[in-house]
């Protein structure tokens, strides 16, 4: 059971993981659309502006593309095993599952004016705004759940990479960290291009 929670990839990979992963990304995009939770980077989730559903879906797919790209490159360099592309991509898609809880919480605990409140209180930007204790409690719960979900997703991403590439030792840890950092930069860049064209 513990193994299933922290490393489901001993039991699921390949095309099954990819199909479920695409379904998870699509559902996350739909929930993000209703709660304005943007997956604006490989390991990011932020409350943002309203946007068409397609934007949320593209965010999810770009994140999958970016992380898969770098993990495949490092698998090709370091893996001595006969790894399959569909395992690397499929397990990374499935590893997005823990983050789905955040937009669900976002629907039930809308964050409303919290961003404007924080901006004015701490940075003196914008207009003074008051928020209720309920909103503050909601924001704290949302933040804690986001961080836990994010940590869980990164654990799953690492285990997905470890199982699908079978790289061992320090190479697996270093190549994973470097892949996440490079994928984060690339996804941020690609998404900024998309946001730029959306605002035209």
């Amino acid at each position: 059971m513990k193994n299933w929670v922290f490393n489901p990839f001993n039991y699921i990979a390949g095309s099954k993981a990819l199909l479920l992963g695409i379904a998870i990304i699509t559902l996350s995009a739909l929930l993000g659309y209703f709660s304005n939770n943007h997956f604006d980077g490989v390991i990011d989730i932020h409350i943002g502006a309203k946007a068409p559903f397609l934007v949320f879906l593209v965010e999810g797919l770009i994140n999958l593309f970016c992380i898969s790209l770098f993990l495949l490159i490092f698998s090709a360099i370091f893996s001595t095993s006969k790894f399959r592309i569909i395992d690397v991509v499929g397990t990374q898609a499935f590893a997005r599952l823990p983050l789905i809880i955040v937009p669900i919480i976002g629907i039930f605990l809308p964050q409303g004016n919290i961003a404007e409140y924080i901006q004015y209180t701490f940075l003196k930007i914008g207009n003074p705004i008051s928020i209720s204790n309920f909103e503050i409690a909601g924001f704290i719960i949302y933040t804690i759940i986001s961080l836990v979900s994010l940590a869980m997703m990164i654990t799953w991403m690492y285990n997905a990479y470890r199982v699908s590439s079978n790289i061992k030792g320090a190479k697996i840890i270093i190549s994973f960290i470097v892949s996440v950092l490079l994928a984060e930069i690339l996804s941020k860049y690609l998404l900024s291009v998309i946001y730029y064209f959306l605002n035209q």
Binding site: N10, I12, F83, R84, T91, N166
Partner: protein, 100 residues
């Protein structure tokens, strides 16, 4: 109960060799120093994996289905066995060179 074949020395951890073989019918005993075959040097789990691999005509996909594991997990188990075989072969080779 199926008795487990000991392959390593409980005293010094070296690989054991076969010293004598016996015919259960006529009780003829043959003595000499024989190497255990490579497969016999593997642990039970590895031997079971190899037998299952043969039974499934080398299809890791079929094995994964039967073992309720993902394909890469089964392939990783095979990778571990391959690494173990290579290291055992190298050790045996080194031992033979040292003994000569």
């Amino acid at each position: 109960m199926l008795k487990k074949l000991p392959v390593t020395c409980p005293s010094c951890n070296s690989k054991l060799k076969v010293k004598s073989l016996i015919c259960k019918d006529c009780e003829t005993v043959i003595e000499g120093i024989y190497e255990l075959p490579l497969l016999a040097l593997m642990n039970n789990k590895e031997q079971e994996f190899i037998i299952s691999f043969i039974k499934h005509s080398g299809s890791l996909k079929e094995m994964a289905k039967e073992m309720n594991l993902s394909y890469p997990t089964v392939r990783n188990l095979l990778d571990d066995i391959i690494a173990n075989v290579k290291s055992t072969e190298a050790n045996l080779k080194n031992n033979n060179i040292n003994n000569q």
